[in-house]
Symmetry: C2
Subunit: 363 residues, 2 copies
């Protein structure tokens, strides 16, 4: 060996020989190692492992054996780099995974994407808008094929694909605000209006509305509530419309106030489950026979000892749909610079579910 500048492929190879490397070697074996052990070139090893037809059967066998011996696994990250292709990963950004809404959404996304062999990279923002921005930046830097976001905060400009290297983005649960992205929404308006209509159909005329401070989804529910009343020619009593309750305790307090008015409501429509629970508590405490109706299902709804009708929906379906919309865009991008299909907005239907308490002290 002379000191000439690098000439020839094997000569300049700085990597240690792995064909006979000790098993405790810490770095993973590469195609080159497999090829060396099988006595073929890196390319032949690559082809054999990919199942390329132009590899002699016995060669393939030797390569497969070598790969198996070395416990070789293709480095998909390197592969994706070379094929200029998709990373096979999608980012999912949610405010709080401990909330069943988001975890069920995540499950739906995972289920739909797993069928395509695409992985989900999870990010929890804790409802912090700044963190959401950072996280999305990071996901783009990691070359996600697309990103699904349940947005926090009003400004969505950081979610605009135009600013994100054209990474497709899909919004879930909230509509897009001044950015060109697809989104999946719940039928907040329809669900609320249907539920309210069912109360009206049962003869209720004085119906209270309790909810948390109005973000978009809540105001849609209030709009649905008003719409149903309006359609029935009922003038809502504004004193019965209360939307400052963030937790069960304050909802219960407000419900008790409302129930002790001179002319109390005969039914409640609650815009989220915390308000529903608060109202249930108040109704039980006061022994009221007001009917409780609310948005959002919750576990044990049949064990509260009180009749309940709830606007329910399948959150996983929302996740699946979001994944589907996203992958359509991903495929579109990968197909080339052709025309983009128009923006899509998908609405997940709701249903009205009635829960009846089980019999008590049956004798």
């Amino acid at each position: 060996m002379t000191n000439e500048p690098n000439v020839g492929t094997e000569a300049r190879r700085p990597r240690q020989d792995r064909g006979t490397a000790s098993p405790s070697d810490s770095s993973a074996p590469t195609l080159r190692d497999v090829g060396a052990r099988a006595g073929v070139s890196t390319m032949t090893a690559s082809r054999a492992l990919r199942g390329d037809a132009s590899v002699a059967p016995d060669t393939r066998q030797r390569v497969l054996a070598a790969a198996s011996d070395l416990k070789y696994r293709r480095n998909e990250l390197a592969r994706n780099l070379r094929t200029g292709g998709a990373s096979g990963m999608v980012g999912l950004v949610v405010p709080n995974l401990a909330n069943p809404f988001y975890s069920e959404l995540a499950l739906g996304v995972e289920t739909a994407l797993a069928q395509r062999g695409t992985k989900v990279v999870l990010s929890n923002t804790g409802g912090d808008a700044r963190r959401e921005r950072e996280v999305v930046e990071d996901l783009v830097a990691r070359r996600m094929d697309g990103i699904i976001v349940v947005p926090t905060g009003g400004d969505q400009s950081h979610l605009d694909p135009a600013r994100l290297q054209d990474t497709p983005v899909v919004l879930a649960a909230l509509p897009a605000h001044e950015i060109a992205v697809d989104c999946v929404l719940l039928d907040d308006f329809g669900g609320a209006s249907e539920a309210t209509a069912s109360l009206i159909a049962d003869g209720h005329r004085r119906i209270a509305f309790l909810g948390p401070p109005a973000v978009w989804t809540i105001s849609e529910r209030l709009r649905g509530f008003r719409s149903a009343l309006n359609k029935a020619g009922i003038q809502p009593d504004e004193r019965l419309i209360r939307w400052q309750q963030r937790d069960v305790a304050s909802a219960a307090r407000v419900a008790e106030q409302v129930l002790t008015l001179p002319d109390p409501p005969t039914a409640f429509f609650c815009a989220n489950s915390r308000n529903t629970l608060g109202v249930c508590r108040a109704v039980q405490r006061l022994g009221s026979d007001a009917i409780v109706c609310g948005f959002d299902d919750f576990e044990l709804a049949d064990m509260l000892g009180i009749s309940l009708r709830l606007v329910t929906y399948r959150t996983e379906v929302m996740g699946e749909r979001a994944a589907s919309l996203l992958m359509d865009r991903v495929d579109e991008v990968r197909a080339g610079a052709g025309e983009r299909k128009p923006l899509r907005q998908s609405t997940i239907p709701t249903a009205l579910t009635r829960y009846t308490p089980l019999a008590r002290r049956a004798t």
Copy 2:
């Protein structure tokens, strides 16, 4: 330009010039594009964006401006390939994200890892052991820095790091079986025994045990139950020990059977929340005054209208701990081929929480 074989760097460059590329160009800008636009080499661009000190201030400014103009983001995947470094991603494999136990665990993992800038790649197995194997293989191929698994099924051989290119693995909720991995467990034995002891302290002597078919965690709880009885010199009545109930309905049925025995128990210890709920239902239906105690917290435990004492714990802490154990191993591997620390097994403590129903029909 002659037709000589490739000579020189710029001459062989097949890539289109991006310095003035149209903004609708679909592929992401690279360091070369940034360098070209700033009038410097790729390396200088790289150094400037990394914050390398050996870059002239005004050069840095030009590079930063160019990067900003092009909306450049470093390709972290390519970077990791070159630096031979960690992918900055960890796999998380759980049976069912819709189960709060797993989603809270996931939240804990995400929270702990986010602080290190490590991302979580999620996989849901649906409790399918075959899928678990596939998923883990895939995660290794995608070069996760480590993998956290809540294992399904008895055989864990596919989770052995020795078979996974030495990818560190941590088990959560279940102990390792014949594989060399760290794990995080819940104090099933301690929690159950403490809860049972509290019933005994209250004077209960006939205590029923209801649970689902015994996997490891459930048999630990049964063992804790028996241990507490034993310690108090109480001989358990085997007819009151029932562990075939997978759902609320069957648990309720069995609880009713037990309650209508000639000599019914005065208290129940339930090994999971479905059995707890079933027992609550039975107790309510029959108007029994038996005390209900159970393992696992659940929402609305304070709204069932029945006194409850539950073995509770913080699932996110388990996730955080799993992440911590895993990253210790990851750092260990990256530090070199030195000695490995001995295996660790971490136990998450439980607490006994009492829920009292709210007052009813207060006047």
